[in-house]
C-alpha cells in the first residue's frame, strides 16, 4: 500500500492501485473517493493539502493533491472521456487497461498505442466548471486561510506572491482590458481607480504594478497572441482561475456556488500543445472547425494560466469565514462546542461591536445598530417571488466628497469575508459591465460586477455621483442594481433570452440624500463628532481594535447569519394587536410595508442578541428603533423641505 505522503504528492498512484485491484468493475471509483474522504478526516489532514488560493501554480507539484476555494463562474458543456481504455504495445502487442478518470491526457508508453476500437473501452461523462476565487474576498480571510497551512511556512511560497507572481497576473488583466475596450484611455483611468480600490486588499503595491505592467506588456506583445481574459467578476481581481472537472453529482452545483474542492492538479503542458498542433494540421478535418478560435482559447486555455483540477471531493461552503468550522449544520460535537462557547460571550462581543461601529459612524449609535442588523441579514427563504430576510440599508446623510464612505467600506471589509465597493459615477455606470452576459462566439458567460457569491457585502457609494446622462448601458446597470436590491436576483443576459439567477447579496448604499436606488430602510446619519482629520481618525480606529476582538466580530457576524429563528404564537398575537392598534391611531402612515420592516428589524435584533425566538421586549425595541429612525427622517425632511 502507498505510504502516507503518497496520497498528497502522488494521488494518481493510489488511484492506480485501486484500479488495478478491482479493474473491470466500477467499484474502484467509489473506493477511491472513500479512501480520500477517510484520509482527509484525519486530524488536520485538510491543512496539509496545499491550496491553490495561496500558492501560485508553478510552485505546486503537477498531479499532486490540491485544494481550491472558489466560486463557480461558468459551467461548460459536459464532456465525454475515456473512462477505461486499452493500450497495445506495438512490439509485443500486449494489451494493458488504463483509467482515464482524473486525467486530461490518456497516458501510454512510448511503444504503446491506444486502441480506440477496443471492446474494453468505457465512455464516461464529466462536467467542467470554470471557477474563480471568491470575488471580493477580504484580505484577512485570505491571510487567515493561508495561515492554516503548515506547508506554506516551510516553503518560500509565501514570499513569492508579491514578487514574481502577482505582477504578471496583474499585467495580463491590464492588457486585456485594453483589448476589450475601444477606449483605452478611459479604461485606463478606470483601471487606475480599480487598482487603487484593490490596494485595500492589502497585499499589492499598486504603484509598482502600474509602472511595471506597461513595460512587460511591450516586451511580450510582439510574439504573443492577445492575453487571456480570466473572466473575474470584479475588476482588478487576481488569483488563479481554474477548470474544475467534476465527476459526480454535478447537477447539485449551481452557478455562483462557493465550493471547496480537493482534487488532482493537472498542468500537463500537452494540453496546450495539443491545441495549437491541432489547429495547424487540421485544415482538412472538418471536425476542427467546430470551435472558433475564441472558443478554443476559452475552453482550453494554457494549463499554466488556468490549471485543471480533477475533483475527488467537492463540498459546497455555507460561508468562507476561516474562523468558523466549515460546516455548521453537521451535528458534530466540536462544532456544537464552538457555537455554544461563542454564544456564551455573545453580549459583550455585541456591545463591543456596537461601540466600534458607533465610532466608525462618527458617534451615531442608531446607525451603528442598523448596520449590525444589516450585516447579519441574509435571504433565508423565498416566498414565490418575494425574497425574505433581505435588508438593504441606505445610509443617507454621508458627507459628500470626503473619504468617509471609503473608510466605512474599509471597516466593513475588515469584518466580512467578502465585500465589494461600487462607486457610482455616471462614467462607471455607463461603462462597466454589471450583468453577466453570454458570449456566444467564445461560448462562455462573461462575468459582470453583479456576479457575486452569496452573502457578499456590496457597498454602493452614491456620494460620488454627479449629474449627467446615463446611456443605455447605464440605465440597464442601474435597473439591474435596483432589481438586485428589490428581488435579490440578477437577470443574466443570454442574448436571445434572459435568465434569472437568484442571489443573496447585502447591499449598503451610502448617499447624501435619499438614494435613487430602492432600499429596505433608510437611516439618516447624524454625526455626533466631526473629526478634523478623518483619515487619521478612521485608521486609528482600526489599529485600536485588538486582533482577537476583530476576530470575534468576524465570527459574530458570520455565525449569527446561520441561526434559525421562530416566533411563538403569543408573540404573534401581541404583534397582531400592536399592528391593529397602530393602524387605528395612524392609518395613513402605518402600512403593511411598515409591518414588514419592523418584523425584519425584530428578527435581526433578536438574532443579534443570540436569541432564536422573538420576545415581547425585542418587538418593542424594534418598534422603538423604527420610530427613532422615522423621526429622524421626518426631521431631515423638514430641514430640507424638498425631499421625498
Amino acid at each position: 500500500m502507498p505510504c502516507v505522503g503518497d496520497w498528497l504528492n502522488n494521488p494518481l498512484s493510489i488511484v492506480r492501485g485501486f484500479f488495478a485491484q478491482n479493474a473491470p468493475n466500477s467499484d474502484w471509483e467509489k473506493k477511491v473517493t472513500e479512501y480520500f474522504k477517510e484520509k482527509l478526516k484525519e486530524n488536520n489532514a485538510t491543512n496539509w493539502v496545499p491550496s491553490l488560493n495561496d500558492i501560485p501554480v508553478h510552485y505546486l507539484k503537477p498531479n499532486s493533491l490540491v485544494k481550491f476555494r472558489c466560486m463557480i463562474q461558468d459551467m461548460f458543456d459536459p464532456e465525454l472521456y475515456m473512462g477505461v481504455y486499452e493500450t497495445v504495445d506495438s512490439n509485443t502487442s500486449a494489451r494493458v487497461l488504463h483509467f482515464g478518470k482524473y486525467r486530461d491526457v490518456a497516458e501510454c508508453g512510448p511503444q504503446q498505442e491506444i486502441d480506440l476500437n477496443s471492446s474494453q473501452t468505457v465512455t464516461l461523462e464529466r462536467q467542467t466548471f470554470y471557477c474563480v476565487p471568491v470575488p471580493g474576498e477580504s484580505a484577512w480571510s485570505v491571510v487567515l486561510n493561508h495561515r492554516f497551512h503548515a506547508y506554506i511556512s516551510a516553503s518560500q511560497a509565501r514570499v513569492s506572491p508579491s514578487t514574481s507572481y502577482t505582477p504578471s497576473r496583474h499585467k495580463r488583466s491590464y492588457e486585456e482590458d485594453e483589448d476589450m475596450d475601444l477606449h483605452p484611455s478611459k479604461q485606463k483611468e478606470q483601471h487606475m481607480g480599480n487598482s487603487s480600490g484593490g490596494d485595500i486588499h492589502g497585499c499589492v503595491e499598486p504603484k509598482r504594478l502600474e509602472t511595471e505592467a506597461p513595460a512587460g506588456h511591450h516586451l511580450i506583445s510582439p510574439n504573443c497572441s492577445p492575453p487571456l481574459d480570466l473572466n473575474f467578476p470584479l475588476p482588478g481581481e487576481k488569483g488563479p482561475a481554474c477548470l474544475v472537472k467534476v465527476y459526480e453529482s454535478w447537477e447539485s452545483f449551481k452557478v455562483n456556488d462557493v465550493l471547496e474542492v480537493y482534487g488532482i492538479l493537472s498542468v500537463d503542458p500537452v494540453l496546450s500543445i495539443v491545441n495549437s498542433e491541432e489547429r495547424d494540421s487540421s485544415a482538412l478535418d472538418p471536425m476542427e472547425c467546430m470551435d472558433t478560435v475564441e472558443e478554443q482559447r476559452v475552453h482550453s486555455p494554457p494549463a499554466s494560466l488556468v490549471p485543471r483540477i480533477h475533483v475527488i471531493l467537492a463540498q459546497k461552503l455555507q460561508h468562507i469565514n476561516p474562523l468558523l468550522p466549515a460546516c455548521l449544520k453537521e451535528e458534530e460535537s466540536k462544532t456544537c462546542e464552538f457555537v455554544s462557547n461563542f454564544m456564551s460571550e455573545l453580549s459583550p462581543v455585541r456591545a463591543e461591536l456596537l461601540g466600534f461601529l458607533t465610532h466608525a459612524l462618527l458617534g451615531d449609535s442608531l446607525a451603528a445598530e442598523y448596520l449590525i442588523l444589516h450585516l447579519i441579514s441574509t435571504v433565508y427563504a423565498r416566498r414565490d417571488v418575494l425574497p425574505l430576510g433581505k435588508f438593504a440599508v441606505n445610509l443617507s446623510g454621508c458627507p459628500r466628497n470626503s473619504i468617509f464612505t471609503e473608510h466605512v467600506y474599509r471597516i466593513i471589509q475588515q469584518l466580512v469575508p467578502a465585500s465589494h465597493r461600487l462607486q457610482m459615477t455616471v462614467e462607471s455606470m455607463n461603462q462597466s459591465r454589471f450583468i453577466p452576459h453570454k458570449d456566444y462566439t467564445a461560448n462562455r458567460l462573461v462575468s459582470g460586477v453583479l456576479q457575486l457569491a452569496s452573502n457578499t457585502s456590496l457597498v454602493v457609494d452614491e456620494t460620488q455621483l454627479e449629474q449627467g446622462q446615463l446611456d443605455t448601458t447605464g440605465v440597464r446597470n442601474v435597473t439591474a442594481l435596483g432589481n438586485l436590491i428589490t428581488w435579490q436576483k440578477v437577470d443574466y443576459d443570454f442574448n436571445y433570452h434572459r435568465m434569472e439567477f437568484p442571489c443573496n447579496i447585502n447591499v449598503l448604499i451610502t448617499s447624501e440624500g435619499r438614494s435613487l436606488l430602492p432600499s429596505d430602510c433608510q437611516v439618516h446619519l447624524q454625526p455626533q463628532i466631526m473629526p478634523p482629520n478623518m483619515e487619521e481618525y478612521m485608521s486609528s480606529l482600526l489599529t485600536a481594535v485588538l486582533p482577537s476582538m476583530l476576530n470575534k466580530f468576524r465570527i459574530y457576524l458570520s455565525l449569527l447569519r446561520l441561526l434559525d429563528y421562530s416566533i411563538s404564537d403569543e408573540v404573534t398575537k401581541a404583534v397582531e394587536e400592536d399592528f391593529v392598534e397602530m393602524r387605528k391611531n395612524d392609518p395613513e402612515s402605518i402600512t403593511a410595508d411598515d409591518l414588514h420592516k419592523t418584523l425584519l428589524v425584530a428578527r435581526f435584533l433578536s438574532l443579534s442578541a443570540g436569541q432564536t425566538t422573538l420576545s415581547r421586549e425585542r418587538w418593542l425595541r424594534a418598534k422603538q428603533l423604527e420610530a427613532l429612525r422615522k423621526a429622524r427622517l421626518r426631521q431631515q425632511q423638514s430641514v430640507n423641505g424638498n425631499e421625498l
Binding site: D77, M82, S118, T123, M290, D384, L386, P502
Partner: protein, 860 residues
C-alpha cells in the same frame, strides 16, 4: 450477380426515363442499393469483402466492371450519381431479389446522405465494445432471409418489408398535426405523403417515429438503436413504393426518409454516453450557425505527366494523395483538380438548451450540430427547433508526434430532421401545443384536482400566496391565465375574437401590485415583464436591426410579440408615454401588431393578455374621483380591459389583524412548511398549461340564456336612469370570463355556474372601478366615454341654460365674453367654473348657435 448490362440500362434509365421497362432482375444496381452501398462504405474501413473491390476501384479494371459502369463514363453520364465506387454488398442477395428495380428508381440519381455517412469518422470511436455494425457481413449466403447486419439485429429484407407495410397501412385518424392540412386522416397517411412528393417534387419523406412506434415497436427500436443501418433501408423501401406507384415521376434525387420525433431523449441535459450513435430528438435554440463549409467528398487527381485521372474518396476527414501514378508510374505527379472534385455542403450549428428545460441556477448547455446538403441554412440563430439526428462522439485526434491523446471526445449531432417549434406562431393555427408533454400520472393528478369542488378557490389561493387577500383580484388573474376559447369569425368578416382577458390593476402604491405582476411573469412560460417607464413603443412592438455579421435586416421582436400566447405584464402603466400606449390599442382588441419600418411591412400576431398596473396620478387614490380621473388614462384604452380592479388599502381592523398574522407567519415559517400549505407552483403551472392545451369549452344552451339575461340586466340597471351600464364589449368580456372559468373546471361546456361567477367577478370589478363618485352608482360610461352620465347631463343642462340666457337677451349680434360669464354665474344656483362655461360655449358652437372670437361671442 451484376452484369455489364447494367451500364446500358443505367444510361437508358437516365436518358429516357421510364420509357424503357426495367431490365428485370438487373441484379446489379438498383441505385437504391448503391445508395445503401454508399452509406455503408462511409462507415469506414471496410474489410475487403469477397465482393468488394479495392478502394480505388475507380480505375478501370475487371473488378469494376463487375459492379458498376466505369467511373469516368458514369461520371459524364450521371454527374450526380457519384460514389458508386463502393460496392458493397450490403444488400443481401435476398433483398436484391426482392427489391425489384423499377426504371423510375434507377432513373433517379442517388444523393449521398452525409447525415448518416459522416459516421465514417465515428467508426473509429467505437464506444461500445461490440459497437454498431462496422461491416456488413453476409453471414451465410444460403440463408438468405436470415441475414442480419453485423453487430445489430437488423435484417435488411424484413426491415424493409415492415417499413413498406407501415407506409402502406399506417392510419391514425385521431392524431392531428399541424402539417396535416389537406390530408385525409382515414387513408394511409404516408401514402398521401408520397403522393405529395410526386406532386411537389420534394424528395423527402418525414416520418413521425411515434407513428412507427405504435405500428411496430420492434422496428422503432431498431431505428433508434441503429439509425445508420435502418434509415437507408427505409429509403430503399420508400423509393420502391414510390416508383412503383409513380413510375413517371421525376425527382431531383431519390427520396430520403427523415424520421423525427424520436422519443429517446428530449432534453440536452439527458444526453449521455449511451446515446452515442443512436437516433435522438432534442429541442433547443439555435445560437450560432457557421458559414457554409464545402466538404470534399471525393478528390479528383490528375497526373501531370500522362493526364491519367483518378478519384480518391475521403476517409476520416483525409484524402490520401496517391504518390504514384498508376498509369505511368511517375512518383508525385498527381495534382488535385479542385473543380472536378466532389463537395457537399455542410454547416456547423450550435444549439443551446431552451430556457424552459434549464434547472434553476445553472448555465445552459450547448451541443454542436452538423447539417448537410439541403438542411444547410434551414435555421437561423434564435430559432427554436426540435432536432432529430444521430449523436456522435469523436476522439480528439491522435497527434502523430505525441503519443498521448486527450482522453476527451468531441460530440456532435448529425442532423436528419429539423422542426421549428416557433414557426407555428406565424401560421395562425390555434395550436398551442408547446411541445409540452404531460406524463400520464401527471395528467391523472391534474384531472383529479379538477374534480375537486373548490378547485377554483384552491387555485386562486395558490396564486401568489405571499400576497395577502385580494381574492377577487387573484381570481381575475387566474381566469386571465386560463383565457377564453378562441373563436374564429373570419368567414363572417369579423376576424378572430379575442380570447385573452386583459386586466388592469390600479391603486395605492405599496399594495403589492408589482409583486403580483412579478409572480405572474414568473409563472407563465411566455411571460414578459416591462415597466411603463422604461419601455418605448419600439421595445414593445418590434424593430428592425441590421445584423452586424451578415448585414442582413433582422426583425427584432419586442415584449408584446414575445409574449404571444402568454401574458405581458406592464408595470407603471400610467407612466408610459402616449405613443407607446397607442400601440396597445391594436394589440388589445385585434391581437395583432402591424409594423411598417425599413421596408418591412408585416403584421405579427400578438395574442397576448395584458396585465397592467397603474398608480393614481396623485400618488394616493382619491375616492372622490372616478377611475379615469385618478389614473388619467384614455378611456379608449380602459374600455379594452375586461376587468379593472382597484387595489386599495382597506382600513378595517379585522383585515389588519389577519394581515398581521399572515405577515408574521411569513417571517418565521420554514420553507418546507410553506410549500405544504398550498398547491405548488409547478402543479399550478402544469394545470394551466394542460387546460390551455386540451380544454376548449363551448357555451351550453342554458349558459347562453344566462349570459343574455345577465347582459340585459346590466343594460337595464342603467336605462332606468337614462344611463347605459353595458356595451357589447362587456358582453364579450362576460363570455370570456365564463369560458375561462369553465376551463378551470376542465369542463367542455360553459354552464350556468360559470356565467354566475363571471357575472359576479365582473360586477365586483365594475363596482370598484366604474362607480360614479358623485352618485355612487355603477356607470359603465365612465369607462367607455371617460365621463359619467351625470356629469354629461350636467354639462348639457348648463349649455341649455346658457342658450336660454343668450336668447333672453334679445337680438344682439354679439356679446362680451366676461359679461356673459358673470350673467350665467349670477343666474345659476350651482357654482360655475370658467372651464364649465367654456365647455358650454363650445357645445353651443358645435350646434352652430354661436362663435367665439377672442373676447366676444357672436350669434349666428
Amino acid at each position: 450477380m451484376s452484369s455489364p448490362a447494367s451500364t446500358p440500362s443505367r444510361r437508358r434509365g437516365k436518358r429516357g426515363r421510364g420509357s424503357n421497362p426495367s431490365t428485370p432482375q438487373d441484379a446489379r444496381s438498383p441505385p437504391s442499393q448503391k445508395r445503401r452501398a454508399d452509406d455503408s462504405t462511409s462507415t469506414g474501413d471496410l474489410q475487403p469483402l469477397p465482393t468488394s473491390p479495392p478502394a480505388d476501384v475507380q480505375s478501370p479494371g475487371a473488378a469494376d466492371a463487375l459492379f458498376s459502369s466505369p467511373p469516368q463514363f458514369r461520371h459524364s453520364a450521371i454527374p450526380l450519381d457519384f460514389d458508386i465506387s463502393s460496392p458493397l454488398t450490403y444488400g443481401t442477395p435476398s433483398s436484391r431479389v426482392e427489391g425489384t428495380p423499377r426504371s423510375g428508381v434507377r432513373g433517379t440519381p442517388v444523393r449521398q446522405r452525409p447525415d448518416l455517412g459522416s459516421a465514417r469518422k465515428a467508426r473509429q470511436v467505437d464506444l461500445h465494445s461490440d459497437g454498431l455494425a462496422e461491416d456488413i457481413v453476409a453471414t451465410d449466403q444460403s440463408l438468405g432471409q436470415k441475414l442480419v447486419i453485423w453487430g445489430t439485429d437488423v435484417n435488411v429484407a424484413s426491415c424493409k418489408e415492415k417499413f413498406q407495410r407501415f407506409l402502406q397501412r399506417f392510419i391514425d385518424p385521431l392524431d392531428k398535426e399541424d402539417e396535416d392540412i389537406g390530408l385525409d386522416l382515414n387513408e394511409p397517411r404516408y401514402m398521401q405523403r408520397l403522393q405529395e412528393i410526386n406532386m411537389v417534387g420534394e424528395p423527402f419523406l418525414n416520418v413521425n417515429c411515434d407513428h412507427l412506434r405504435s405500428f411496430d415497436e420492434n422496428l422503432y427500436r431498431q431505428l433508434i438503436c441503429y439509425p445508420q443501418e435502418v434509415i437507408p433501408t427505409f429509403d430503399m423501401a420508400a423509393n420502391e413504393i414510390f416508383f412503383d406507384r409513380y413510375p413517371d415521376s421525376i425527382l431531383e434525387h431519390q427520396i430520403q426518409v427523415r424520421p423525427y420525433n424520436a422519443l429517446k431523449t428530449r432534453n440536452m441535459r439527458n444526453l449521455n454516453p449511451e446515446d452515442i450513435d443512436q437516433l435522438i430528438t432534442i429541442s433547443g435554440m439555435v445560437i450560432r450557425s457557421s458559414q457554409l463549409i464545402p466538404e470534399m467528398q471525393e478528390a479528383f487527381f490528375k497526373c501531370q505527366v500522362c493526364s491519367f485521372t483518378t478519384r480518391v474518396e475521403i476517409d476520416r476527414g483525409r484524402i490520401a494523395e496517391p504518390s504514384v501514378c498508376k498509369n505511368c508510374n511517375t512518383t508525385h505527379s498527381m495534382a488535385l483538380i479542385h473543380n472536378r472534385s466532389m463537395f457537399s455542403d455542410k454547416q456547423m450549428i450550435k444549439l443551446q438548451e431552451s430556457p424552459e428545460d434549464m434547472p434553476a441556477g445553472q448555465t445552459p448547455h450547448t451541443v454542436v450540430l452538423f447539417a448537410h446538403n439541403d438542411l444547410v441554412d434551414k435555421v437561423q440563430p434564435g430559432d427554436r427547433v426540435n432536432v432529430t439526428g444521430i449523436y456522435r462522439a469523436v476522439p480528439i485526434r491522435v497527434n502523430p508526434r505525441v503519443s498521448s491523446v486527450k482522453s476527451v471526445y468531441k460530440t456532435h449531432i448529425d442532423v436528419i430532421h429539423y422542426r421549428k417549434t416557433d414557426s407555428k406562431r406565424l401560421h395562425g393555427v390555434d395550436e398551442e401545443t408547446e411541445q409540452k408533454m404531460f406524463t400520464e400520472e401527471r395528467v391523472k393528478i391534474l384531472k383529479e384536482l379538477s374534480k375537486k369542488a373548490d378547485i377554483y378557490e384552491r387555485l386562486s389561493l395558490a396564486l401568489a400566496p405571499s400576497i395577502y387577500e385580494h381574492e377577487d383580484i387573484k381570481k381575475g388573474i387566474l381566469l386571465q391565465l386560463f383565457g377564453g376559447s378562441r373563436k374564429d369569425f373570419t368567414n363572417t368578416g369579423r376576424g378572430n375574437f379575442r380570447a385573452e382577458i386583459n386586466i388592469l390593476l390600479c391603486g395605492d402604491p405599496g399594495t403589492s401590485k408589482s409583486q403580483l405582476l412579478q409572480y405572474v411573469y414568473n409563472l407563465v412560460p411566455r411571460g414578459q415583464y416591462t415597466s411603463g417607464k422604461g419601455s418605448s413603443a419600439v421595445g414593445l412592438t418590434a424593430y428592425v436591426m441590421k445584423d452586424p455579421e451578415t448585414r442582413q435586416l433582422v426583425l427584432q421582436t419586442g415584449a408584446l410579440v414575445l409574449s404571444d400566447n402568454g401574458i405581458c405584464c406592464i408595470d407603471e402603466f400610467d407612466k408610459m408615454n402616449e405613443s407607446t400606449r397607442s400601440v396597445l390599442h391594436e394589440v388589445m382588441e385585434q391581437q395583432t401588431l402591424s409594423i411598417a419600418k425599413a421596408g418591412i411591412i408585416c403584421q405579427l400576431n400578438a395574442r397576448t393578455s395584458i396585465l397592467a398596473a397603474a398608480n393614481p396620478i396623485e400618488s394616493q387614490w382619491n375616492p372622490k374621483k372616478t377611475t379615469i380621473e385618478n389614473i388619467q388614462l384614455p378611456h379608449t384604452l380602459l374600455s379594452r380591459f375586461d376587468l379593472i380592479f382597484l387595489m386599495l388599502d382597506p382600513r378595517d381592523e379585522a383585515y389588519d389583524r389577519r394581515l398581521a398574522r399572515h405577515l408574521v407567519s411569513l417571517y418565521y415559517q420554514s420553507e418546507e412548511k410553506m410549500e405544504e400549505e398550498y398547491v405548488d407552483m409547478a402543479i399550478l403551472r402544469d394545470y394551466i398549461a394542460y387546460a390551455r392545451c386540451y380544454v376548449n369549452p363551448r357555451i351550453s344552451e342554458e349558459a347562453s340564456q344566462a349570459l343574455i339575461e345577465a347582459y340585459v340586466d346590466m343594460r337595464k340597471i342603467g336605462s332606468g336612469r337614462g344611463m347605459v351600464s353595458a356595451y357589447p364589449r362587456q358582453l364579450e368580456s362576460l363570455i370570456r370570463l365564463a369560458e375561462a372559468h369553465a376551463k378551470v373546471r376542465f369542463s367542455d361546456k360553459v354552464e350556468t355556474i360559470d356565467v354566475e361567477e363571471a357575472k359576479r367577478l365582473h360586477r365586483e370589478a365594475l363596482k370598484q372601478s366604474a362607480t360614479d363618485p358623485r352618485t355612487g352608482i355603477v356607470d359603465i360610461s365612465i369607462l367607455t366615454t371617460g365621463m359619467s352620465a351625470t356629469a354629461r347631463k350636467r354639462k348639457e343642462e348648463l349649455a341649455q341654460a346658457l342658450r336660454k340666457l343668450i336668447q333672453s337677451k334679445g337680438k344682439t349680434p354679439s356679446l362680451k365674453y366676461q359679461q356673459l360669464f358673470d350673467d350665467l354665474r349670477a343666474q345659476s344656483d350651482t357654482a360655475v367654473t370658467k372651464e364649465m362655461f367654456e365647455e358650454a360655449l363650445r357645445a353651443l358652437a358645435d350646434d352652430d348657435f354661436l362663435t367665439v372670437t377672442g373676447k366676444t361671442v357672436r350669434l349666428l
